[in-house]
Amino acid sequence: MASDVRAAIAHAARHEAPRALATLTRVLGDVGAAEDAVQDALAIALRVWPERGVPDEPAAWLTTTARNRARDGWRRESRRLDKEVTAVRDRPPEPEVVLHPVADDQLRLLFTCAHPAIGPDAQLALMLRLVCGLRTDQIARSCLVPVATVSQRLVRAKRKIRDARVPFRVPDADQLPARLPVVLAAIEQVFTRGYAPVTGGEVVDVHLCDEGRRLARLLVELRPDEPEALGLLALVTLQDSRRATRADTEGRLVPLSDQDRSRWDRDAIAEGLTALDRAVSLGRPGPYQLQAIVASEHARAPSFAATRWDRIVAAYDALLAATGSPVVALNRAVAVSYGDGAAAALPLLDRLLDDRSLATSHRLAAARADVLERLGDAAGAVAAYDTAILAAPAGPERAHLEERRRRLGGR
């Protein structure tokens, strides 16, 4: 097959197919049936486009072909697929009925995938498949689970959507405040998977970061006056601006304090700050906007030393008041350690030692180790690094902690 046709089909799978899926779900009222039909349409494209050429409007072609597949009462038998291919191949070129996509279809799909009745793992798999157009093996690689696990999650989720009647709908205005955070969290999950993969050699998985940003942009496009959607867009864009500097040439983690700021993506920073300004101007603060404020202070600071830590601490104060989250308290303490000094932060960190949710994470121990090291307590720091290393999953973060421990002259 010519490489440009192959590229067109790959592009169609990632970008056009989700749009076709959203439209078709509205038309068919069944996301599972719609997905199967779109997958079949892609398979037909693979056979027909090399001969007939890539259509002028691939999304429309996919939608129509998929709709025809679904309407003809198809089954997933390869024999029938071959017949369909022959029929499509032999059909004389004709003006095609275009199923007009409605902008809201994509939004409906987002809210369906991120429905609270669907578990977070399944939400992520659905988003990656239905909205980002990733194949099962790609999802498996990104989520670091076996392909069979992803398949099972998708099958169960689609079955649940069908049998429990999860609606394909943007929630009513009165439901939206409760439902929007779930969608935001699901999009954030897509980005975070790329930005901080749990294990594995790479520090950054660029495709997922790109997808996360694309979804955040899409949500803002579809809900332009939603401050938290703008906040999420600002947050992921500003975090992603540091992409090039988070790892060195050997794939080792480079902490924020050591990153070469001249290599931060200025366009991404501008995009993030613009989104944040728009969010703030709407006058409805929220957790994502606050996290974005923290990210914006880092983006604005010409150096680590010049960072306005007081503003970061103030943002964390508000975030802590809003969420009561121990993770926020931890991040706040780290900011205090740089703003007011390590001595001020130690009691804040020690207070968190009793928190159950932080007990299994390596981050509290890592923060304590860093603070103790800066206070000159080498023995205390080594012990804390040991705790952190034990708790951290294998990967760049743990390797970084081991290196810090080694430098202290431990065994």
């Binding site: 609270p116 009745a117 578990g119 079955r159 649940k160 049998d163 429990a164 009647r165 609606p167 709908r169």
Partner: protein
């Protein structure tokens, strides 16, 4: 909660207000008697044990059957059920049409028979094993027709959504209220002269290796 006490009356009042709120959406439902009055029957081994089904810590207190256009509406109704801060509700789609439960004949008591079993192919609607099970249950209902007032099959446990309250707001999770080896696949509402007769009838329900949890239904109209 004992009938005749002020707490019981307050509970009745809360549920009466819910019934008003839910109105036409309520197609069925019952309150259950004390867990200690229940009995668990496992026909394959012949065992009959007093008390409720205890694979998980929570004990069933009652149920509603809602008619709703979609899950959002069903969850909205469920979140409003006055179960209290410790209460948990599990929402599951029924298979097929729901026929309202008939009243018990004079002189008879009503019982809920919950069917617990390890998930199998027979739980997947319209699979061959499912169709065979439907036939078996059909034969049971034909034999014991006088005693069967109603019932339904449920979609598999994976289609469940659980609703809890946290800080006054409903908290949703995907899946049944507890991860148990044996899950509820369906239920019957039975009429019987007394507990012993109810046990005899329930023991005839085709269960394979599963168990029937028999619980007396509290007649609130009395």
């Amino acid at each position: 909660m004992t009938p005749g006490t002020p707490e019981f009356d307050a509970e009745l009042e809360r549920f009466a207000r819910f019934d008003e709120f839910a109105a036409d959406a309520v197609a069925g439902g019952e309150a259950l008697g004390l867990p200690a009055e229940g009995v668990v029957i496992r026909p394959s081994t012949g065992s009959v044990t007093d008390g409720p089904f205890t694979e998980s810590a929570e004990i069933l207190g009652g149920y509603y059957v809602f008619e709703a256009d979609d899950l959002d509406r069903a969850l909205e109704l469920t979140a409003a059920i006055p179960v209290g801060d410790d209460g948990v509700c599990e929402v599951r789609p029924l298979v097929g049409e729901w026929t309202p439960t008939a009243d018990a004949p004079a002189g008879q008591q009503r019982f809920l028979a919950l069917l617990h079993g390890v998930p199998t192919e027979a739980d997947v609607p319209h699979s061959p094993a499912w169709d065979a099970a439907v036939d078996e249950h059909g034969r049971f209902e034909a034999s014991y027709g006088r005693h069967v007032l109603g019932g339904a099959a449920l979609h598999p446990a994976e289609t469940a959504t659980t609703v809890r309250r946290r800080d006054g707001a409903p908290q949703l999770t995907d899946g049944p209220f507890a991860e148990t080896a044996e899950v509820v696949g369906g239920f019957y509402v039975l009429a019987a002269r007394d507990r012993d007769e109810a046990i005899r009838v329930a023991s005839a329900i085709p269960m394979g290796d599963g168990a029937i949890e028999l619980r007396p239904i509290v007649d609130l109209e009395a």
